[in-house]
Symmetry: C2
């Protein structure tokens, strides 16, 4: 973990370097790996999306660069002074409003759209080697967690095993949380909060000694970092429970291999060892769930084609077999269709059997 003082210092040095260049009569400039599509590569070795070797530069005395140069420096300054030095955190939206001011002596606003300040923050991530969260810029807050875990956070000691039906609400930023006591054999992450409530009510995490994490839809950066910390710091296996459809496959693949939008952060956000424990087309046959098939729409077929051609899926025989079956059945199936076998079928049969027999997709 990079401590706060160091982080502030890294930004200070970024600024000092520019000042020195100016003092030496040079054109102040800085460089960073480009984040556009042409510089995103799938690294076969690490099995993650990464940035390639192409480098971009911002120069102060360059009509095409001057505004972006100024924006980046101003964002860096706001992050250092308003966030890191005061130990405060803010959202991307707040940073936008903090840097949105008129450039003195002009009628020009430093930034007009949030995308401009967002890009500066991404540039600063690759320039400093720090994560957005380590720059105290938070992502979305979403999700819940329960399990035999004790953490320390903002001066409070919190036992995730004693939080009733609600669980702990996962903050947008989990960088500074101390995972003090972790007693679990694995982490089960699911996309649906309703499934999480089912498993929590059935005390699945107590019976099977695991940690239950749910988002609601997309996996936030906070949740991805939390999963990653359990893998990095405690070597816990991470299992992903999704619907039996192409969107479930994609949610799983983002956690495992990364995403194009966040390729510059792959190293820290991906977990190559994660395993898929969601519904497969084989489960449909095994548990006779055909009755609960939901017919695919045109958009679904297009997405199957797209996802199945991704580099990290295209040579994966098991997943290709799944994609093929989805197309043959012309259908998808939801996790909750398991409720047709009984309300607690998922916690008493489906998950214990699947995990015991290690019937994962990889």
């Amino acid at each position: 973990m990079v401590i706060k003082l160091e982080r502030s210092k890294i930004l200070k040095e970024f600024g000092l370097k520019l000042v020195e260049q100016a003092k030496r009569g040079k054109n102040p400039k800085f460089s960073f790996p480009l984040r556009n599509l042409s510089n995103i590569v799938y690294d076969q070795k690490s099995k993650t999306l990464k940035l390639g070797d192409k480098v971009g530069t911002r120069e102060f005395f360059n009509v095409a660069h001057a505004k972006k140069f100024l924006q980046t420096v101003e964002v860096a300054s706001v992050i250092k002074k308003e966030l890191l030095d005061t130990s405060k955190h803010s959202s991307l939206r707040d940073v936008f409003y903090m840097v949105k001011r008129t450039i003195p002596g002009t009628k020009v606003d430093l930034v007009e759209e949030q995308t401009e300040s967002d890009k500066c923050i991404e540039d600063l991530e690759v320039i400093t080697g720090l994560f957005r969260e380590q720059l105290n810029v938070n992502a979305d807050k979403k999700g819940s967690v329960v399990g035999n875990v004790v953490i320390e956070d903002s001066g409070d000691t919190i036992d995730w095993g004693k939080l009733g039906s609600g669980g702990w609400s996962i903050p947008s930023n989990v960088e500074e949380i101390k995972l003090k006591k972790v007693n679990a054999d694995y982490v089960l992450y699911m996309e649906k909060a309703a499934v999480w409530e089912r498993l929590n009510e059935d005390k699945y995490w107590k019976k099977h000694n695991c940690i239950l994490i749910a988002s609601q839809g997309q996996t936030t950066r906070g949740i991805r970092r939390l999963l990653q910390r359990f893998y990095d710091e405690f070597k816990l296996p991470i299992y992903v429970l999704c619907d039996g459809d192409i969107y479930g496959a994609y949610i799983y693949s983002v956690i495992k291999y990364g995403s194009i939008a966040l390729a510059h952060a792959s190293e820290r956000l991906t977990i190559p060892s994660v395993r898929y424990v969601g519904i497969t087309m084989d489960d449909v046959e095994k548990y006779q769930l055909q009755k609960h098939f939901i017919k695919l729409k045109e958009a679904d077929y297009a997405r199957i084609k797209q996802v199945s051609e991704y580099e990290w899926f295209k040579d994966n025989k098991e997943w290709q077999r799944q994609f093929k079956k989805m197309k043959e059945y012309k259908a998808k199936v939801e996790i909750q269709s398991l409720s047709s076998k009984g309300i607690s079928f998922i916690s008493e049969t489906y998950l214990p059997e699947k995990i015991k027999k290690r019937e994962f997709l990889d």
Copy 2:
């Protein structure tokens, strides 16, 4: 609070009555208040949306009713046996899968779409006088809470004042939670989780002795019930913090007056005394936030027209003045624009001043 045994008994009696009718050679039937638009009225006295006097009937021996009759009885049976009698809870989606089966001796499915089982649950709400949550059918899980409150839930004692940066994750169903110790002067509810994180980091709830609740977007039923319980059981004032736009006004109005979709549940879900502490057009002038105006789009104008004509807004002078100003400025403004005055301006100036001077909209 209606206890669990009673609730199961209410459903049992609903079924027994139908059996008796059949035994006496009568056509089994049941009645309930209609929930369609023509039977939803705005009650000037209670200032909530309510159901009118129109009544619907479902008869077993009636070709037009038979399937709906059967669906309602089956849903009632599943709720009694699978949920209430086992103390388990489920989502609407799970109930759908639990009742989706082929009618014996036919090739007809009892329900084909979730809307069918959803409607049965709403019918059962008005038939039994019980809430969906009291029938153990949960709504969405969303939102976080912190404050000087101790609750008891599922055997755990949880102190909302000791949950770090995350807070307690609000479950979809708060009916069975015991609010054991509540030490707060008011509840502040906000639509944005990022604003909640700002206020929590600034320990606003400690300094101003209040409870902070956030959803992310729409106010879930769980959150509405939680707000309502603080009002009912502890007489706490509820303040709603939203963006300065028509959507913020609507979020506020749903909590205060109810919504068309849930008119049958208004009595329990609305809080007529709730007050609006969100950004107004006057705040824009007071704090010179014009720079941060976001231009209205066509859909925004249409929504302003629609909302301003709602019965509960149309005679409200203060709100009409706001709607007029929105149209004059051709703009809306976000809560987070306050960050342009400093990251903690909202917690150190905006909210304390506004609440102290009681500058609410009603």
